[in-house]
Subunit: 359 residues, 4 copies
């Protein structure tokens, strides 16, 4: 029996731990394991490595993925060089399916986010055998109670808040920390509560400058002339407008400059007169050794995916429901994302401890 593994989408602590666990479970039953490089590109271009015991040694606590990932690996829209040396985007999914046959893969474990799993779903519809493993540090998949990588990202953001705290206090400043979360505020909410933020701003809850200023002034009146604001990168501006990061003029480059963090810092400083500093945590949240919890969840997901793959399942994704890892249909899994609701218990608990959501 032969099973392939690939990883797609953005980096996430725990990817290697999934690969390791799946491979160990497959080895135990004598299954050959192929690792494709850079997501679906590895299958399309038959760029793969044999995953053996040596390849997975030491992977449990290592961040990143030994298989690499690639944002441009969509087989339905794949960049192909024309004879004239130009790039054309083509549907190469048939080629991919053929390669799967040629390589005699009985099943494929596809570890990735929204994009990667949606593609998996389409490939399954075309006859491929695929088991999905969900991956998002944002923890915003309705289909699973938790995703690996999230706890590590929350830990990194919380450590940053812990560090900013002492400086805020010593300098009587407002400190703004921008964290990841393009569509959902889970990282900001969890690390805001864990790191003792005073204001938590997330995409799901509209905010007003007045409300933030009021919170900062309330604290000043209580003898606390410093405040900590955490904001998810996808939080809209004060009028609900989407914030596009500024770019260095004329450069046409994708390097990010000021986002919502800087905007909020600027507005708060102008409104309160309190010195304000902004930190954008950036890719630090995606890297590093996974936390123990993430290693465990990644291990469980890897084993469960391997077992599904070996028993001939397809079109399923592994998910955590309560204390159990269970299979759910891939189709369903890629349909709904979870967002922070106003009556979420942690939001309410946060409010009870005095955290303002700027509303």
């Amino acid at each position: 029996m032969r099973v392939g593994i690939l990883t797609g989408g953005g980096d996430c602590p725990g990817l290697n731990a999934v690969i390791r666990a799946a491979a160990k479970a497959l080895f135990a039953r004598g299954v050959d394991v192929l690792g494709f490089r850079d997501g679906y590109r590895g299958i399309i271009e038959k760029d793969w490595i044999t995953i053996d015991k040596k390849a997975i040694s030491g992977l449990l606590h290592r961040g990143g993925t030994i298989l690499g990932t690639n944002n441009r690996d969509n087989p339905f829209n794949f960049p192909v060089e024309t004879p004239e040396g130009e790039i054309e985007y083509c549907d190469v999914s048939e080629q991919l399916l053929e390669n799967i046959k040629e390589l005699q893969l009985d099943n494929l474990i596809s570890i990735g986010g929204d994009g990667t799993l949606s593609i998996a779903n389409e490939l399954v519809a075309k006859g491929a055998h695929i088991i999905g493993v969900p991956k998002t540090i944002d923890n915003d998949l309705e289909a699973t109670d938790q995703t690996f990588g999230f706890d590590t990202a929350v830990t990194t953001a919380t450590e940053a808040l812990d560090k900013l705290h002492t400086t805020a206090e010593s300098h009587h400043r407002v400190m703004v920390l921008e964290v990841m979360g393009r569509y959902s505020g889970w990282i900001a909410l969890w690390s805001g509560v864990a790191g003792g933020a005073d204001v938590v701003l997330i995409p799901e809850i509209p905010w007003s400058l007045d409300s933030i200023v009021e919170k900062i002034e309330d604290r000043q009146n209580e003898g606390k002339p410093f405040s900590i604001i955490i904001v998810a990168e996808g939080t809209p501006g004060p009028g609900g407008e989407h914030i596009i990061r500024d770019r260095i003029e004329g450069s046409g480059d994708p390097i990010r400059l000021g986002g919502i963090g800087q905007l909020i810092g600027s507005l708060v400083e102008q409104a309160t007169g309190v010195e304000t500093r902004v930190t954008v945590l950036g890719h630090i949240q995606r890297g590093g050794s996974p936390s123990p919890l993430d290693r465990i969840l990644a291990t469980r997901f890897g084993v469960a995916a391997a077992e599904l793959a070996m028993s001939g399942h397809s079109g399923q994704m592994v998910a955590l429901k309560g204390q159990e890892v269970v299979p759910v249909p891939l189709e369903e899994a890629t349909r709904e994302t979870s967002s922070v609701s106003l009556d979420n218990q942690l939001v309410l608990a946060a409010r009870s401890t005095g955290i303002s959501f700027g509303d």
Copy 2:
């Protein structure tokens, strides 16, 4: 309105975070908060402090408890000095109930483990108003899916395994790590999986030396002349016998010497001839700043307990069920502990990745 708070039993990361969150939720509704020192002793001897905003500043990330705890605070069996200067153990529960009245406490939030909550239950039966908050780093309460402090303990144990790994590998040694867990193996199981242990020994699964030796030799045959064993302190000996730690002869003292960790190290070294080193992690697991997850859980428990207390409930304990914090009857809560079952999904996943339980 007036609510008291106390902490009892062994130390646990997150106690201060519970106190802080409960106090914040109580302050927000104008409730006065009294903090009793050293568990029930503080009520019996009217030794308390006023908890105000200043008292809880900076508590979120601080280990331990500002209220102190005490193993000898049982009001039904309390040490009282007789006029002759001797210690007699008396039932002073009536005195405690009277003090509660005298101090005009509307409710009491009692944060503690088995012992502390059982006493709470008995006091409730005698008419006291008490809300319980469960506390155990062992995570072995049937009534709640998770307890705060557990994730921090698992993190500490996993970091220790990470460190032992490199030495084991460099020196071709067997490293034994003894962690907490008197009756249940949750800490050993979770950190064993997270830290890549080769053998996990827990109270719930009988083990044999042959089986451990086989695992170590299998690894040697695969070119891995080193192994990591993690063992819960409450794991019985090879014949199922309870291991009592040795003491320095004649000293009559309670200082612990060799426990199950040393016994296993000794047996393994004799049986395999491989140099073996034993580390007993000890109280390091109970201390330190709580992990983000534990701070969040502690905050949620604190807020929920305060809300129950303010709405006049009694005889309830807060618990995590799935994603929600809910009240459960104190009585039920103190009845059952949870232990690792042979068909626990994490046990099975661990086996699939090659972990041996020595059975």
Copy 3:
């Protein structure tokens, strides 16, 4: 006897540890200790607290300063409100000297950077008794071999590099990390070596884009399609020009946007075509619990300053020379900063391990 303590300038891990150690050494000889709030402002406005044993409890491992700091505390140019409610900058140094007399201070321990110590020097010239303790996370004082806070900042930056590494590798990206160091590149150099950076850019060494691109391409040719660049914030642009961070247009605010990190990221991405991501570490470097080394150095500085203060010295600063803490004249101390020279042994060692300085 009576000694005052104040902290000035930017935040720095270890300030509290200096205060604690100095106070402990002073208490041991029965000296009263006054803590002035927000640097010299505390003396000018007689805003102080009594530092007693309780005040310093738990300070050793706590970041920041319980005394607060203030960038606008220069007694020679101090903001004073006129009767008309306007702000005028005045020389209030005479008032400060008078307050010192009135408060019967025998000596003053002034903990701060360049600015704070230069003022101390001028005040000494006017008759004040002051002992200086140098503080800069940049470690760029010629007069002392090391300053506290530097090791913590290097540790924070190194941890960030460790995290960026896995993502760079998984995604075949260039990761740019901008760290502190306005005039000197010590933090970038040390953490660049410790974190395995491929390119280190510092104010002292002019760089060219070609040279950076060459390094990145060399690595690609060796099968390493990812690179890590660390850059000190004060590094000039490719033409040697000083980089002023962009601001949100028209806002007139001091919120920082793109600095040298973003510029380099942009240039490198355009020149190599490799996806590049930039992280600006910012104030996270100034916060958090000091590293063990910094706690020790801060403790030694605090004790040495207290001893100098008690023995009636003035106009001296404590400094580390080799293994010993020694006094040096304040005057000399504030004159020269140290910068990274081309023949610095660590620069040469870095080059030997393949690190490029872009030159």
Copy 4:
């Protein structure tokens, strides 16, 4: 040109970083690098690997040594199996020298402690070309101001003290932490100061129980009913007697039981009546990722050793003197260990902050 590398003696964070740096510096000049397994055994038995760019990838932050180490690798007293299957200890140094010739090694970089370097010295006397790199987490070599691994060990011990602190405080207990240091107290001294210990016991300073008890009682009288004691493993008993760890009776095994830590805990508990808990940190101190400082020092040592090796030197050891890495004669290096003197500045500073050395 061809240079060999080996590592000997106990584990120490930074060994891999030395190997990596030396190899990189050697590669840059086209030198072939051989890595011998398990110290001198690798040369004696011609058990070696080619160290190439791939072999050293990712080594900078990895604890342990990829080359392995071995306590039984002395070529002057090497275990050889006789034809009858018995073990005889023989002088195989001639064989080793011959193998060096046969393998056409121009030089050998020997990374190790006392034992390893003494052997190197003897081999040099017999004509071998060897450059030494000192390795000891104890930091007790007179010839170098600091050794790599020490800062990591101090950090691990300090983190343990930080964790024990909160428990000690919450439970009104005495916590004893036993750390490494068989002949010198550097780890106990540095981490004791960094971790805020109340009592520091080291081999160099005789202690009395009365003095320790006095310190604990002084603290109780100041309202601090808890204390932290750190003790180096080599500290003699109260009468100056050497403490041999107890063993499990009749087992004849080398597993360690009670050492000086337990003895002190037992004595203190009996004398004060305060509950006391003992933690023996053990091998955790030797493992884990090296601290940034240790990575830097290891890198500098590795580069310096490679340069000495390439320029044909022999019988030299690299050492840190002030800010510079310099060569010192191997002979001298192995002669003197450094111990903590009573007038060491850090000892005096520690006393000034109230730390008792039990004397």
